[in-house]
């Protein structure tokens, strides 16, 4: 039961954005309640001990896009924030060779040269060009976007500021931004590189969580999005939080509480109470009513607009737009408990290649074929795998000498053409394990336990519609001005006092926290207006 019957703000959903939002609202002095349906906060950013001594990052598995502002403004280091370095990136190849990146820039260039001498300085140019685009677009992540359909003079001012910012960009940076935002990852990379393994490694971040192949228009946007995260001052670099992303959301929960927010677990919200077009509170599924003039939905747009409130209270245009909003989850996970570290024949007894991401996606063709399977309604027969043996970074994730391996898999379409996920679970996991075995002979003998997470599991357990990890796909018509719907990209809804702060709002998904933070800014500023 909540401590009070009445709050200044109630946040529905204790995922990372709900926690960030609740923390900011509480910090601003509002009596704030965050309500989480499950026994643990974190949403899709949780860590669970599913096999004794083995801690799995069941869903979300690494940290990069978290806005630095949130770390500082919510005092996260004081509450145990600890982003551990993942020093390597390992890309095995089908011919037994590999591309292995570490922390030494020059060593990385010699590694690229091994595959193509021409690509070495091309890689430096690519990194510089991407960094310039990221630097140019970064301010968009940290401000409430303009509503281009509004007559509000403040929006006119915001649009003018945006136009001025874009006008100041050098033409080359602007052009690269547009090429990325509208084009395919493969086309963009072809302009720099000849090495297939390097292109494939970089293109992989253009397909994550989205139903596009590397040659699809739109994969450039996804690639850019995954590079705009910054960790300790470098774009596109990733960290593993102590204890996994569940460790991170526990830090957020402690920070939220320290700022005065109350967190209620094991409690589902049935619906938002409204009166005369205003939110007045929420009704829990046991019928208990909690009053609050501000209600914030941290769940995805479909549930925000179609389930928590009566769509008949909303403008038909918005309902139609949300109905069209594409989720079509296409990612799954298989997490392994391992008896020891796998080996890669070409690296002999070396094991330092496991201290970061292992990218199973050795060529653009490999990735595109994996996508082809999904286009026609089935999971990939040779899937793309983003693996990470996280216990090499944080030994507390597994018993001494044992390991946990998180494997993010694509493609695994939510809708299977001739079957259903409940009967395909093991067939799917066997496909994944077979793929790993083909790169790492003997892998299967190390497996002590495996956890299978299908898109249907993501929907059922976390509540993300169709299992889409971003709470709505990263497609141009679903971003910025239009996320989640034209005219409703500023965290408000047509119901006064009812707000949205989940990954289905600007800027979008990943453990970024920006939607939660920007929504709090909007709420606080509306309140004082």
């Amino acid at each position: 039961m909540p401590e009070h019957r009445s709050y200044d703000a109630v946040v529905i959903g204790g995922g990372h954005n709900g926690l960030v939002n609740g923390a900011y609202l509480a910090k601003a002095g509002m009596r704030t309640l965050v309500i989480e349906r499950r026994t643990v906060v974190g949403g899709a950013a949780i860590t669970e001990e599913l096999h004794p001594g083995f801690h799995f990052t069941t869903f979300s598995y690494a940290l990069s896009l978290l806005r630095p502002e949130i770390i500082h403004e919510l005092d996260l280091p004081k509450h145990g924030f600890m982003p551990l370095l993942m020093p390597t990136t390992f890309a095995p190849m089908e011919n037994g060779d590999y591309l292995l990146f570490g922390q030494d820039h020059d060593e990385n260039l010699t590694e690229v040269s091994r595959h193509s001498p021409r690509d070495a300085d091309a890689y430096e140019q690519y990194e510089h060009d991407i960094a310039q685009v990221c630097q140019a677009l970064k301010p968009l992540l940290d401000t409430v976007p303009p509503n281009p359909f509004s007559k509000d003079p403040e929006d006119a001012a915001r649009l003018a500021r945006l136009a001025a910012h874009l006008r100041d960009l050098p033409p080359r940076v602007m052009h690269n931004a547009v090429r990325l935002l509208t084009g395919s990852a493969a086309d963009f990379l072809d302009d720099y590189f000849e090495s297939e393994i390097l292109k494939a490694l970089l293109a992989s971040s253009g397909i994550i969580g989205t139903k596009v192949g590397p040659r699809s228009q739109g994969s450039g946007l996804v690639l850019l999005y995954h590079n705009i995260g910054e960790h300790d001052g470098s774009f596109g670099s990733w960290a593993f939080h102590k204890g996994g992303n569940g460790g991170f959301t526990q830090v957020l929960a402690r920070a939220a509480k320290a700022h005065g927010a109350e967190i209620l677990l094991d409690t589902a919200v049935d619906h938002v109470m409204t009166s005369n077009g205003r939110a007045i509170g929420v009704v829990l599924d046991d019928g208990v009513e909690i009053e609050s003039a501000i209600v914030v939905s941290a769940v995805d747009p479909r549930r925000t607009f179609m389930e928590l409130v009566d769509p008949r209270e909303l403008p038909a245009e918005l309902v139609e737009a949300i109905g069209r909003f594409r989720f079509q989850g296409t990612s799954a996970k298989v997490n392994f408990a391992l008896d020891g570290l796998p080996t890669y024949p070409a690296l002999g007894e070396r094991t330092d290649q496991w201290r970061g991401f292992t990218n199973i996606g050795p060529s653009i063709d490999y990735l595109e074929r994996a996508y082809d399977d999904a286009k026609y309604g089935w999971y990939s027969s040779r899937p793309y795998i983003d693996g990470a043996i996280q216990s090499t970074i944080d030994p507390d994730m597994a018993p001494p000498g044992k390991h946990v391996m998180s494997c993010f898999i694509q493609y695994a379409p939510y809708e299977l053409r001739d079957g259903d996920w409940d009967s395909e679970r093991d067939g799917f996991a066997d496909t994944v394990q077979r793929t790993l075995e083909s790169f790492f002979p003997g892998f299967g003998e190390l497996v002590l336990h495996r956890e299978i997470v299908t898109p249907l599991d993501i929907e059922r357990v976390v509540g993300l519609t169709e299992g889409n990890i971003f709470a709505g796909e990263f497609l141009a018509p679903q971003m910025f001005f239009f996320r989640p719907a034209p005219g409703w990209n500023q965290y408000r809804t047509p119901i006064a006092g009812y707000y949205q702060c989940g990954s289905g709002t600007h800027p979008g998904g990943c453990v970024m926290g920006a939607p939660g933070r920007l929504a709090a800014q909007q709420i606080i500023s509306d309140r004082t207006d």
């Binding site: 630095p68 280091p77 922390q103 630097q135 001052g233 470098s234 507390d396």
Partner: protein
């Protein structure tokens, strides 16, 4: 000729970078793998092994050894019984700092004193009529530092008697087959131990520890990772944060204990006579200290905005920077200087160890630190913060 420590056979095999530094005439790995930051996180999240053999070590023994050290060290060694250790320092007659180190009381009449630089001649020159023998035993020991949250699990797995070893206590232990001395000390500000051993046992003890730490994240770490950790821990480094008064050309290059944050060692001074006491007493009574030692935390927003305004991505470099960086008050008046600076991965901020005018050291005072941004000097807001800047409860628990 540059010397090798008793662990060289192992450190050389483990060093995949080919990078070495020289410390007290010995080869010490700068880092064993390409990322010093990965080694740093072993200190803060798992366990690390660092070869500290090059430290100078002096055995001070004899019926008057306690009386002698009580007259030399600024912290009262009489309150350090056998089985304990003290972080301490020694001064010249003018009350200026000569050096700092750790003194271990081995027995009623036997001490071991560590120092980063040679001090035998200075210490010996202070012996008057006492019956005391000072001996350089630097090469008689190999030394390893085992630091990090898993350090206790690793050492107690080898010798369960280490379970209750308290902060700044030491005790004999058996690691594998070797008899060693273990102290609950270190230079990282984290939970950790230092292991003092017969050089002939060095390789065996190294192997024993590495084996016990396998699966608990234990890795050998180089000098850079330790120098990162020590800034967060607010631990002084001679020749960086202060200069030994003996070799300074003027008083601007000398520091009193209070000026580098060591006033807590002095207590109320009492009636103990020790080298520098009168000068220190005068300094305490008159409040004549020129500086106070403090942590500085750079304002992340100001730092970021100044770089962004120049069209730059604000660097966040964890590599320790030594050398003076000027500190100003909000009006632009110079009020001190920082001597150690870094981006702290665990605090997520740029931090510095600095000395400032005594009135400006209070926690949370707004000051400015001078940077070079876009090839121009620029001042960035920095706030004073008490040392240590990172101080996990496990360090003492």
């Amino acid at each position: 000729m540059i010397l090798r420590t008793p662990f060289f056979e192992r450190t050389n095999a483990a060093n995949g970078t080919g990078l070495w530094t020289h410390w007290a005439g010995h080869l010490v790995a700068e880092k064993y793998q390409m990322s010093e930051k990965f080694e740093y996180f072993a200190v803060r999240n798992a366990a690390s092994l660092y070869d500290t053999s090059p430290l100078y070590k002096y055995r001070i023994a004899g019926p008057d050894s306690e009386r002698f050290l009580a007259g030399v060290l600024i912290r009262d060694v009489r309150s350090c019984p056998p089985g304990r250790a003290q972080y301490t320092a020694w001064c010249d007659g003018e009350g200026y700092l000569v050096e700092d180190g750790v003194v271990f009381r081995i027995g009623p009449e036997e001490f071991l004193l560590t120092a980063a630089r040679p001090n035998l001649s200075y210490l010996s020159s202070l012996v008057t009529h006492e019956s005391v023998n000072i001996e350089d035993v630097s090469r008689a020991y190999g030394a390893l530092s085992l630091q990090g949250p898993h350090a206790r699990q690793i050492i107690t797995a080898l010798d369960p008697s280490m379970t209750g070893l308290e902060y700044f206590h030491h005790a004999p232990a058996k690691l594998g087959g070797a008899a060693v001395l273990v102290s609950r000390t270190g230079f990282t500000g984290d939970l950790g131990y230092e292991i003092w051993l017969d050089p002939d046992d060095a390789l065996q003890v190294w192997d024993t520890l590495i084996e016990a730490g396998a699966g608990r994240g234990l890795i050998p770490i180089g000098d850079t990772a330790v120098l990162m950790a020590r800034i967060e821990a607010g631990l002084l480094l001679v020749d960086v944060d202060y200069e030994p008064s003996r070799f300074a050309f003027n008083d601007a290059h000398r520091s009193t204990p209070a000026e580098v944050g060591l006033q807590w060692m002095l207590g109320s001074l009492g009636d103990r006579r020790f080298v520098g006491r009168e000068a220190i007493r005068r300094e305490m009574v008159s409040g004549a200290s020129r500086w106070r030692f403090t942590g500085l935390v750079v304002d992340w927003r100001d730092y970021d905005q100044r770089h962004r305004a120049a069209g730059l991505i604000a660097p966040k470099d964890h590599m320790p920077v030594t050398g003076d960086m000027m500190v100003y008050d909000p009006d632009g008046r110079r009020v001190g200087y920082a001597t150690s600076f870094m981006y702290s991965p665990i605090l997520q901020n740029h931090i510095a160890l600095a000395r400032v005018e005594p009135g400006l050291a209070e926690k949370g005072t707004d000051l400015q630190l001078e940077f070079t941004i876009d090839h121009r000097y620029q001042m960035v807001v920095a706030r004073t913060a008490p040392l240590p800047l990172f101080d996990p409860p496990r360090k003492r628990s």
